[in-house]
């Protein structure tokens, strides 16, 4: 079973040289720490920056330079700054190669729910609906089950959804799965120490298992 760091490390392996990437808040933000330095990639922040750098030192802190999570950041050489309209033009136009974000639920046809829980205070969707409706490739970082043990990989989402038929890949604490265009979670890899049976029990949606399922290698 993977902890948050493990999920982030496994997702980092999906990153390819030359990619422009948008990282959501939470686990996705951690992914940046594990992208091999041999790869040239550029991180987009939807509030208006291409080329997010490391967090600043005390001396470098600049209130005019934050990421979409409102954290202070720095810029890489070759960065570009722009407005929110331009930023979402980029996102909507399909110019960002990979979007990594968290989810509360994913359905077997790729619907995602990650913005609202009925009965709880609604904070808003922020940029999530634009990102999921527009991205060429979406990887979701999530817990396979709730704290109560209920599966979050479902036939249909129970929570209000953020976007339809958009998730392409899931990296959970238990497994790596593709969401197939025709529907269904195709099991690709098991987390270290996790059995196929455990994954089957934790997946309420249609799970597709073909041949031997390898354990993740980091």
């Amino acid at each position: 079973m993977l902890d948050k760091t493990g999920i982030a490390k496994r997702i980092a392996k999906e990153v390819k040289d030359g990619m422009y990437i948008n990282l959501g808040i939470g686990i996705p933000t951690l992914v940046a720490n594990y992208i091999p330095t041999s790869l040239n990639v550029v991180l987009q922040s939807e509030n208006g920056l291409l080329g997010i750098g490391p967090f600043p030192t005390e001396q470098e802190v600049d209130p005019d330079l934050i990421n979409a999570g409102k954290q202070t950041i720095t810029m890489m050489p070759g960065s570009a700054l722009f407005s929110s309209a331009e930023s979402f033009a980029m996102i909507r136009g399909g110019h960002v190669d990979l979007t990594i974000l968290g989810a509360m639920e994913v359905s077997e046809n790729g619907d995602i729910a990650n913005w609202k829980v009925p009965g709880k205070m609604v904070k808003g969707m922020g940029g999530a609906m634009d990102l999921v409706a527009s991205a060429k490739h979406i990887i979701v970082a999530m817990q396979h089950c709730s704290k109560e043990g209920a599966s979050k990989l479902l036939r249909q989402c129970t929570l209000p959804i953020t976007g339809i038929r958009c998730v392409k890949k899931i990296v959970s604490d238990l497994a790596v799965l593709d969401v197939l265009p025709e529907g269904g979670f195709k099991l690709l890899e098991r987390a270290p120490g996790v059995t196929v049976t455990e994954i089957q029990q934790a997946t309420a949606g249609k799970l597709i298992i073909e041949g031997e399922i390898p354990e993740m290698v980091f």
Binding site: N47, T72, S83, F88, S134
Partner: protein, 231 residues
């Protein structure tokens, strides 16, 4: 060139009355028009509709206007970090309209650019689509969204000249440039007001045609929400 300079925030907001529809620039607390927010607070006008990506925090930004119950409605994409906001929303004192961030940005741009409606994929199949026209183009579904315009747009820039040309700095740009185009009256507060001719015409973010009033703000606090340092 046309001189747009006003004396300060109070003069800039002089004719904003009860029930006005305002756009306020900024993302979180980054790039918000601090001086004008304080002037609106002092002025005490009520019933405001505020179009702004966020709603500030309890004791800063638009949060200050919420505390004094000057805001009737917020139109935002994310209103996370504000306990007073939550209280007013749950008690029904405050109306909130949540809009996907990219749709919000584009609707404001459309308002400024004279485009009454456009199609966007964000929100298809979600509750955001309720009541909206859905149309398929090239095998993908899109929603029809309308422009947004305001009585007054209040933006914050880094530098500006006396004719209203603006330059933003870093990610403090965010929603400010589009909002500057979408107000019947656009008010710009800047950290540094410079004479005409000092800004390079090639690097102006907001051309002065969009700005009706400009002044040099003072005592910028520029509060940081998440001070995150590298280890």
């Amino acid at each position: 060139m046309i001189n747009k300079v006003v004396f300060g925030a109070e003069e800039a907001v002089r004719d904003i009355g009860d029930n006005a529809v305002l756009m306020l620039g900024g993302f979180g607390l980054c790039g918000i028009p601090e001086n004008c927010i304080h002037a609106l607070l002092k002025k005490g006008i009520k019933g405001l509709t505020c179009i702004s990506n966020n709603a500030g925090v309890d004791d800063f930004g638009i949060g200050l206007l919420l505390k004094t119950r000057q805001v009737k409605k917020m139109i935002s994409s994310y209103v996370g970090e504000n306990a007073e906001f939550e209280r007013q929303l749950l008690s029904g004192e405050l109306e909130v309209e949540l809009i996907p961030q990219g749709t919000l940005a584009e609707r404001i741009r459309a308002g400024g650019a004279g485009i009454p409606a456009f199609f966007t994929p964000a929100g298809v199949g979600t509750e955001v689509a309720t009541g909206k026209e859905v149309r398929e183009f090239h095998g993908k579904k899109y929603l029809l969204e309308a422009w947004l315009r305001a009585d007054f747009s209040i933006v914050k820039a880094w530098k500006g000249d006396t004719t209203g040309n603006l330059v933003y700095r870093g990610t403090a740009r965010n929603f400010n440039p589009m909002m500057a185009t979408a107000g019947k009256i656009t008010i710009a507060e800047v950290e540094e007001l410079v004479p005409v001719g000092e800004l390079d015409p090639n690097y102006i973010h907001t051309p002065g045609i969009y700005v009706q009033r400009i002044f040099q703000g003072k005592n910028y606090e520029k509060r940081i929400e998440q001070r995150t340092l590298s280890k």
